[in-house]
């Protein structure tokens, strides 16, 4: 030991320089690495930046970009820039021509006097990104295929004559024994190939049972006129057919035929990949990592895109902090595009609002309403709210009036993430919204609530052991706690909370009527009240397995059928009657309308959002900065 110390002492001198050098090198490496990540932005004196590449993050992976099967908002937000429908929604949600030359009306002869036949003329200049011309057969193919696939939005085409027959003919897919969905799409493609693009080619056969009888091309398949014949009058169809990125989108059979399942995952090429008619095409897709879209050269539509490229990084929501930091550094142009306007949380928004970036925060009400559903029509599930007895309705009313909706928006949403739903189920800014304060169920009256409870449940036996179910995450947890507190405070009723961690399980149970009280909501698809009143209540919803509350009223169904057949100018009063029926029945407790938040760099011009979707990329340009 005594010898060791001098040795160590000796060693100290020998290793001093290396040890110091190592520490210094380590420090330098860290500083150099930090420097390596720095970003810089090229700028010029005025006008547009030399680089027209927009970059933003997406917090969700695409599920499918096949318009026949697409479901999620994230998918349609991207696809609206790659595919076109016959018509499109403009920034104010008006329906305007897209591939069609005009929006059909009775006045311009586009709609027959009985309202059953639509004649659509196609833009002769419309082409796919691979150069294929768009003709009538592409419309027929796209819509027939979408109906045969029976995807989540196939019902948007349900009013067309022959819809049910095609779905019946397409049948169910054979059971996969490999876990791969090869057979169904392939068989549909094989059946349609001989009807359209492949007509006359060797070996191609046409399965005419997959063609809707109400969809024809009076000038021939390679002509530019499409005639749509409805089985019954439909006032909402035009809006539904306009919903972009879904069943109304026009796709190219030439590329789908080469790979009916995975065509949409591949970059666009002449004969393969995700080919559409939109202003952008898919140049690269690395699942769960990134997507690159490039502007179509000499695109046929307008406005012509200024952006040359859109780069999207796919991130997990837990990467929000680093993503916002990158946005502040200018690495991203936008946060919130791609269906992610709900991802900015309150602390982040609050910190942005008190920073120099406050001016770059765009707050936009979105077309989502959240409410509470009672179990009204599922006796097996039970609970005190089942049925239409005075007690059941009175207790529903008691629980409704006990909740301060404005207080919820303030307490839970900090008046930033949502607003109180006081104008009915349909979100503010959409057709069918009743106007601020017009929904009587939005009232807050704890005194009357208490009286109703005392009247209909004097012993408290009926409302003992009630449970409110919800899927966890986002605002749902604090909303549940808020509701629990309101009922406890204003009614003296303790309601148990049932947080369900798995959203798909929650939705499945909820749609199956398994909850006495549950969180419920809807994000609109197209700007027509039918989207709400048909899809959520009544016979249509029940048949589709989507009637959460089990609400069933023959009067409601009758008025709904009548309204659905009328143009919106005549159907709106009828839809408002439906709102009144639901209110009188106290079928729900209105809670809040969602608000989206975007971070948009001041040098990203033309970006924004409306109630429904992001502004199209062909409206955006990058200013010099």
């Amino acid at each position: 030991m005594t010898l060791g110390t001098p040795h160590l002492g000796g060693a100290r001198g020998g290793l001093r320089r290396p040890s110091q050098a190592m520490l210094v090198i380590s420090l330098l490496a860290v500083v150099a690495a930090a420097c390596g990540g720095s970003s810089g932005a090229a700028s010029s004196s005025s006008g547009l930046a030399s680089s027209q590449v927009l970059k933003f993050p997406a917090f969700q992976n695409p599920g499918t970009w096949d318009p026949g099967e697409a479901d999620a908002e994230v998918d349609t937000e991207f696809m609206q820039n790659v595919f076109d429908n016959l018509w499109r929604f403009d920034n104010s949600l008006n329906i305007v021509p897209d591939i069609a030359t005009a929006v059909p009306t009775a006045a311009n002869g586009g709609i027959s006097s009985d309202g059953l036949t639509y004649t659509v003329n196609l833009n002769h200049n419309a082409t796919f990104s691979n150069g294929d011309k768009v003709t009538a057969e592409d419309v027929l193919y796209s819509w027939d295929r979408a109906v045969a696939l029976q995807g989540p939005y196939s019902s948007n085409l349900s009013a067309i004559a022959g819809y049910a027959a095609v779905q019946s003919a397409a049948g169910s897919p054979p059971a996969s024994t490999t876990g791969s969905p090869l057979n169904f799409q392939q068989s549909i493609e094989n059946g349609l190939w001989g009807c359209f693009r492949g007509k006359g080619t060797a070996g191609a056969t046409c399965d005419s049972s997959l063609e809707m009888s109400g969809l024809t091309a009076p000038d021939g398949l390679t002509g530019y006129t499409v005639q749509i014949t409805l089985a019954s009058a439909c006032g909402w169809c035009l809006a539904a057919w306009t919903l972009e990125g879904t069943t109304g989108a026009i796709v190219d059979e030439n590329v789908i035929h080469n790979d009916p399942v995975n065509w949409w995952t591949k970059p666009s090429s002449k004969t393969d990949g995700m080919v559409g008619t939109g202003a952008f095409y898919l140049a690269s897709f690395i699942p769960k990592q990134s997507m690159v879209f490039k502007a179509v050269k000499d695109w046929w539509g307008s406005p012509k895109p200024t952006l040359t490229e859109v780069d999207v990084d796919i991130k997990d929501p837990s990467a929000l902090a680093t993503t916002v930091a990158a946005w502040k550094q200018g690495s991203y142009g936008i946060i919130g595009y791609g269906g992610d306007s709900g991802n900015l949380d309150y602390p982040t928004i609050e910190s942005i609002k008190t920073s120099p970036y406050a001016k770059d925060l765009l707050t936009q009400p979105k077309g989502r309403t959240t409410w509470l559903s009672f179990n009204i029509g599922y006796p097996k599930t039970g609970g005190p709210f089942v049925g239409e007895s005075a007690a059941a309705v009175g207790l529903r009313k008691a629980f409704d009036l006990a909740v301060d909706k404005t207080g919820l928006a303030t307490t839970v949403c900090h008046d930033l993430l949502c607003t109180a739903a006081t104008g009915g189920l349909i979100t503010k800014g959409l057709i069918g919204n009743l106007g601020d304060g017009q929904d009587p169920l939005a009232a807050y009256d704890p005194t009357e609530a208490k009286q109703l409870l005392k009247e209909y449940d004097p012993t408290g036996a009926l409302t003992a052991n009630l449970t409110y179910s919800y899927n966890t995450g986002g605002l749902n947890d604090p909303v549940a706690e808020y509701l629990q507190n309101e009922w406890q405070t204003n009614l003296g009723v303790h309601v148990n909370l049932n947080p369900v961690g798995d959203a798909s399980q929650f939705i499945s149970n909820r749609l199956g009527g398994q909850y006495v009280m549950s969180r419920d909501g809807w994000q609109f698809d197209y700007n027509n009240p039918q989207d709400w009143y048909a899809n959520l209540w009544g016979t249509f919803a029940t048949a589709a397995g989507a009637n959460t509350s089990g609400f069933d009223d023959p009067t409601y169904d009758s008025i709904l059928n009548q309204a659905d057949a009328e143009p919106i100018s005549q159907s709106l009063p009828l839809y408002n009657q439906l709102a009144t029926i639901l209110q009188q029945d106290v079928a729900y407790i209105p809670l809040y309308y969602s608000v989206g938040n975007f971070l948009i760099q001041p040098w990203v011009k033309g970006a924004g959002s409306n109630t429904g979707f992001d502004y199209y990329w062909d409206q955006i340009s990058i200013l010099s900065h």
């Binding site: 030991m1 000796g10 100290r12 020998g14 290793l15 290396p18 040890s19 190592m22 380590s26 690495a33 930090a34 420097c35 390596g36 990540g37 720095s38 970003s39 810089g40 992976n61 479901d71 029976q150 989540p152 169910s172 897919p173 054979p174 996969s176 024994t177 791969s180 969905p181 057979n183 169904f184 399942v261 995975n262 995952t265 690395i286 699942p287 769960k288 990592q289 990134s290 990084d313 796919i314 991130k315 997990d316 837990s318 990467a319 902090a321 680093t322 930091a325 990158a326 502040k328 550094q329 798995d502 798909s504 399980q505 929650f506 939705i507 499945s508 749609l511 809807w522 589709a544 989507a546």
Partner: protein
């Protein structure tokens, strides 16, 4: 001259004996069996979880039944596993249910390579920093260098990697970014499949700093023991330079206990990868690990778990084989 003393020369190169080969084959067989068990258990468990990848407000009822049928998810789970296994043997892990139809094998292999880049970088930092600090602390025992480096080590293994990551982003991205107007800051954006050094260093450091603390402690303790051995004194008496004595003779013998914890260190790094990839949005297996479970993407989940099991099995095997290189006394 004992085996240990003959090892002082540092020139001993272990031969791959028949026993070693048998040992490797046995271990590989055990790993294969482990993968089979892991894949089966995970497959059954994830399929037993309520919900599935398709259900949404729009996908239910008949539409849902069609999709389940189309992807074979309405079959008994054992049949599904058998179908999965048949494909997996040929390297086909099936298709993603979330990104409909996307092949899982190339997806998880790409993500594996990304995680290997991050994990490998973290391992380099772990070993490099841990051993450097450990050696320096040992040869400067009871000096300010020792106190500083052991303090850093203590901080390292007591502060979780996600805290270090958060602090790093605050300092190098937010603070430096605002102070320098964004001209001199860490940019927390992963721009491609693989990260550049500028993108990689902070997430790798966040993982490596945490795991290096343990290495520092073990290395220091081991070095302190070794440098007091007779053969070190002998080496010095032979007139060898101190650097040669320290690195070639002392450090190499001090490595054995360090290597013994490398297996658990690798597991620690894998756990760190799970967390850090999510924070930095790195498109690797760690991010997939959580995502695929939440998304009910069964085939991806099974693939990720199986690959993690494979990584742990192979890294432990590698550690055991490295023993024989560092210490020729160890034979299989």
């Amino acid at each position: 001259m004992s085996r240990a003393s003959s090892f002082i020369g540092g020139e001993a190169v272990p031969k791959v004996t028949r026993g070693t080969l048998v040992y490797i084959i046995q271990r590989l067989a055990i790993i294969a069996l482990t993968l089979l068990v892991v894949s089966f258990v995970v497959f059954v468990v994830v399929h037993a979880l309520p919900g599935n990848a398709f259900i949404s407000q729009r996908v239910h009822g008949k539409t849902l039944q069609l999709l389940l049928h189309e992807y074979g998810l309405d079959q008994p789970v054992l049949i599904q596993y058998w179908n999965f296994l048949k494909g997996a043997i040929h390297g086909n892990l099936g298709v993603s249910l979330y990104i409909r139809g996307e092949a899982v094998t190339p997806l998880v292999l790409r993500e594996l390579s990304v995680s290997c880049e991050l994990g490998g970088s973290a391992l380099i930092i772990t070993i490099g920093m841990g051993m450097t600090f450990g050696v320096l602390a040992a040869i400067r025992q009871n000096t300010w260098v020792d106190y500083l480096l052991t303090s850093i080590a203590v901080i390292g293994y007591t502060v979780p990697s996600f805290v270090i990551a958060g602090l790093g982003v605050m300092i190098f991205a937010n603070f430096l970014g605002s102070v320098t107007g964004g001209a001199f800051a860490y940019s927390p954006v992963w721009t491609g499949t693989y990260g550049t050094i500028g993108e990689l260093w902070l997430p790798a450091l966040a993982i490596g700093f945490y795991t290096s603390g343990q290495i520092t402690r073990i290395t220091r303790a081991s070095m302190l023991e070794v440098i007091q051995q007779d053969y070190i004194r002998t080496a010095r008496a032979k007139g060898l330079r101190e650097r040669v004595v320290t690195i070639r003779h002392a450090l190499r013998n001090a490595l054995v206990p360090v290597i013994s914890i490398l297996g658990t260190t690798v597991v620690g790094i894998l756990v760190g990868v799970l967390v850090i990839e999510n924070i930095f949005g790195i498109p690797g297996l760690g991010k997939e690990f959580v995502e695929s479970i939440l998304q009910h993407d069964y085939n991806v989940t099974v693939g990720v778990f199986t690959i993690f099991a494979l990584l742990i099995g192979l890294s432990n095997l590698a550690v055991d084989l490295i023993y024989t290189v560092v210490d020729p006394r160890i034979r299989y």
